[in-house]
């Protein structure tokens, strides 16, 4: 029976509860050894995000990613966080990503939801309208 990255992440999170920094480092080393033993080293970059995801699930939190061309103000980020919390009922952790591909506006993604408020999306809709007109 093969072990998954998520299972290793869950084990690592549970074992690291209440541990000191050095002890946590040892646990992380052990987790990478388990990855290597199970030929899962190619997923090593997914381990810590998976631990973070486990932590959020335990704490009933969710990660929302906000993409925009320019950095958003604190007030705008709070508005977005409040909106997502009102929709999901979970405490939101926002990750802000600057994306040069976005002309203007912002795109919010959380869980399986994407909230596209960008100019790019409006242009895409315009293009579809012109093509089907």
């Amino acid at each position: 029976m093969s072990i998954t990255v998520k299972q290793i992440a869950q084990a690592l999170f549970q074992q690291s509860q209440g541990k000191k920094s050095k002890e946590v480092d040892i646990l992380i080393d052990n987790a990478f050894k388990i990855l290597a033993e199970n030929n899962l080293l190619k997923y090593k970059d997914q381990l810590l995000p998976a631990v973070e995801q486990v932590r959020r699930e335990v704490e009933n939190k969710l990660l929302a990613t906000v993409r925009s061309r320019n950095k958003l103000t604190t007030g705008q980020l709070k508005e977005i966080g409040d909106y997502v919390e009102s929709k999901t009922g979970k405490t939101v952790e926002l990750a802000e990503v600057l994306d040069e591909g976005i002309i203007g506006g912002a795109k919010v993604t959380y869980e399986d939801t994407e909230l596209d408020l960008t100019i790019n999306k409006k242009l895409k809709v315009l293009k579809q309208y012109l093509q089907t007109k």
Binding site: I103, G104, G105, I119, L130
Partner: protein, 164 residues
């Protein structure tokens, strides 16, 4: 009577002898000439009559044969006429079928060609629309990228967040 005998010098003996001679001659002629001739004549008459009857019978037979032949010829002609008529009808039906099939094929080809032309036309229009849309969007993107500064972007985000 005696006067008559004296006038013509009739000699009864001689006359009797002549009568007997005549009778003998007559008998001989009848026996050996007239009887065979009569017999031969009767046979010839019968033969001729038979020939005539046979000729009539042959003539009648020929007539019957001729009528039968004429009837057969007429029947054959009628049959031939029927066959020719049927053949003509069949040929006409086949010709009509061939014409109809050809017309249908031509109509189908024309219809398919029209449909193909219409499809190509629609595809061209669609492609032109797509290209035009692409150009419009690209041009708009370029303009917006140039015009969109931080303040405008900030205002835009604030506006859309208010609509949430």
């Amino acid at each position: 009577m005696q006067e008559l005998i004296n006038t013509f010098h009739i000699d009864w003996k001689l006359m009797t002898a002549q009568i007997i001679n005549f009778a003998i001659v007559l008998f001989v002629i009848w026996k050996f000439a007239l009887k065979p001739i009569m017999k031969t004549m009767l046979e010839r008459t019968k033969t001729i009559e038979n020939s005539l009857e046979q000729a009539k019978e042959i003539e009648a037979r020929v007539a019957r044969t001729s009528e039968e032949s004429q009837a057969k010829i007429s029947a054959a002609q009628q049959e031939a006429t029927v066959i020719i008529t049927e053949a003509s009808k069949t040929a006409e039906i086949k010709r009509q079928q061939a014409v109809t099939e050809t017309e249908e094929k031509v109509a189908n080809l024309v219809s398919q060609a029209k449909e193909q032309i219409e499809r190509q036309k629609q595809e061209m229009v669609k492609q032109a629309q797509s290209e035009m849309a692409e150009l419009v969007v690209q041009a708009t993107s370029k303009v917006l990228e140039q015009k969109m500064d931080k303040a405008t972007d900030k205002q835009l985000i604030s506006d859309v967040l208010k609509k949430l």
